[in-house]
Amino acid sequence: MIPGIPTPRAVRVLHGAYVAVFFVYLFAPLAVVAVLAFNDSLFPALPWQGFTLDWFLAPGPRRVGLLHDRELLRGMATSVQVAFWVTLASVAVGTTNAFLFEQETFPFKGALYTLALTPLVIPGVILGISILVFSSTVANAVEAATGIEVESLRPSLVLVVLGQFSFITTLTTLVLTARLRKFDRSLEEAARTLGATRPAAIVTVTLRFLRPAAVAAGALAFLMSFENFNTTLFLVGSDATLPITMFVSLRDGSTPVINAVSLVLMVASATIGLAGLAAGSRRR
């Protein structure tokens, strides 16, 4: 079982072998996607036809590489834009939430905290349709009352940002609350004794303490937004995000250019994820 107690050799070997198989299972789908991005073939499948960079670089018309694939590039730009706003908003609200749940006392605090966690246990599809339904109710009401058609309340990038923000904020709140819990409030009190107002003390002392967690939460928010499919599916208008663009081309049969964009995504998300972890685990 554990190293501290004697365990039959067979059990130890079997356990180790199982874990090895598990990691093969974990990485096999990613590995085949990455490798076949370089296959000199029109289909994302075996056999191996030789190495090529066509699926990244080819200008067309027979083969269109990632650099010349307008739809995928546009999807990527859209996703970056959406992820930027979701990250900014969810880290900001996550920070105020951390102060609210860690430093304030008010009636029904426990109930509000539970409510703040619920987006984690609501399926993304449901969040998507409920926000779709509510925003068009509001848009219809506004139109009936004033005659103004609010475009951004119809499926659009604004709705995508709001939809993703609705559950990603729960994640940033958890990360930032956990960090603020470790904060020694006497530091803030010391700043106030020395004449700082509470806002000044928060900005100069507490927010500095929270910064690594804010970076970690931001990385997490960016990744979650960039990869989101379920909620986005119902809120997206004419500008599709990258996962939606990829889904459509997968459904209609694809070329290895999808592998190429996937590989770029893997490298980028691993980099962002590792940077976020490194920032979050720093002591100060």
Binding site: M1, I5, V19, P29, F43, Y113, L117, L132, P243
Partner: protein
Amino acid sequence: MGKGSRLGLALFLAPAVLWLLVLVVLPHVDMLLLSLRVRGDETRAFTLDNYVRFFAEPLYWRTFVRTAVYSLVATALTLAVAFPVAFYIAKVARGRRKGALFLLCLVPFWVSELVRTYGWMILLRETGVVSRLLVWSGLADGPVELLYNDAAIMVGLVYTSTLFMVVPIVTVLDTLDDSLIEAAYDLGGRAPAILRDIVVPHAMPGIAAGCIVAFMLTLGNYLAPTLLGGKNSLWFTQQVYDQFIVRFNWEQGAAFGFLLLTLSSAIVWLGLRLTGQTLAGSVGR
């Protein structure tokens, strides 16, 4: 409590209340209200027609039951797959190896679910990697189509949920003092008994959190059934999509959405009750 601190409370409370009210509570209330109306009815009278249609049409409720049962099976399988790995990472691996293995679990899940599902398509399709391996090794005579069946869906579902099972279980097992296991062993406890009486009870908050999130993700999954299961994979989220996007019957779609939400919440609540956890104590850690 001076005026300043009340102002501070208001400043911190406002974003949270706005977020939860406008993006969580009101949308779900509105969805419920919409599900009680019928499309095209100008009187906007409340009716249960959409729910009656759900029970009257076997395709709808059978898909619903199927989705629920498969989600429970997928959750149980995910737990079975993930627990030995979580135990290995938390209790067997040491030092840098432990950190590295934990990190290796995280990495695949930073990538889009779409990319991961696409990987399984490439592995399982007729011209895919597994089929080739089977032919090459002589286990199959010709190419085998492994995609577009329920087993393929199950593989995709379990894969997607794995991380959300491994991480919370590793986290709780890390807090289990090894000396408790050693003491049990010294007192004559055998491995199965130690697992049952010490390890699993201690890991319960993590197991509950993992199972809740895995179940919710599986129930609400759209990509795995659609891409790995093909056109006839009959997953309830597809019915929701169908009503909203294809048929434009939002009223019916809202009813389906509400039913799915009810099922998901009921199972989450039941899971918490059975394991004696709270939402804040399990998912909120």
